[in-house]
Amino acid sequence: MKGTIVIRHNRIEVEGVQNALDAAMSAAGFTKASLFAVRLAFQEAIANAFNHGHKTLPHDTPATVEFSVSPHEVVIAIEDQGPGFQSETVADCTLDENLEIPRGRGVMLIRNYMTEVRYNAKGNRIEMVYRRPPPAA
């Protein structure tokens, strides 16, 4: 299953995409743990797009979500209309001195839960791949 959806910053539209992803992954036989991982990464990436990418843009500025779900992998791309950012400039939130800073964990969580994460040069498009883990021995 694949699709491209243009969404605005409201809970109903975000949940609509999330529910479509959940349904497609369930139909493709992914486990609850896989759904958790992809849900978390999608929510963090879409929050970054709207809250940071579109920070200086009108609230109803849309972002584009492309996704494809196969039995082997889930690919999600989110493109916002903001100026872009460089993910390597985000401080390491796991350092002792940064543990109590309330922000800056989204990108790190995405990298932990997804198999591959890449950004375009401008930094306004994230592409994330989740590959089905090999079956437990």
Binding site: L40, Q43, T94, E100, P102, R103
Partner: protein, 119 residues
């Protein structure tokens, strides 16, 4: 007292205020702000707050929710209070481990264990 549109269940065990989330998913920033404001009001009402947050009903949370918890922790500490977390689903606990926030927060298996830990 929680309002009719409260996102929390609140109960008192002597000096300890226990809060539980009504929502299964704590993802949406606006919702997180409401929850955070509500917990902040509880902290404001106590002189040295003893706060227990139970995640018994929670399936998902976002980094924004983690950020709100850090802010709540700072507020409690600034009032010489104590914060405990309990009943965190294993998948969500992994998020705390990945972010090392399991080192920052005192996390207990159950509310009963957490209640015993308050000084």
């Amino acid at each position: 007292m929680p309002s009719a549109d409260s996102r929390l269940r609140v109960r008192k065990h002597d000096a300890v205020v226990q809060v539980e989330f009504i929502d299964r998913n704590i993802l949406d920033e606006a919702n997180i702000q409401l929850i955070s404001d509500e917990i902040s009001r509880i902290i404001d009402q106590e002189s040295a707050p003893k706060l227990l947050i139970s995640f018994a009903n929670v399936d998902h949370l976002s980094s924004a929710a983690l950020g709100a918890l850090i802010t709540i922790n700072n507020k409690v500490r600034n009032k010489s209070g104590q914060l405990r977390l309990a009943s965190i689903d294993p998948q969500i606990y992994e998020v705390f481990v990945i972010t090392r926030l399991n080192k920052l927060f005192q996390i207990h298996e159950s509310p009963e264990d957490a209640l015993k830990s308050f000084a």
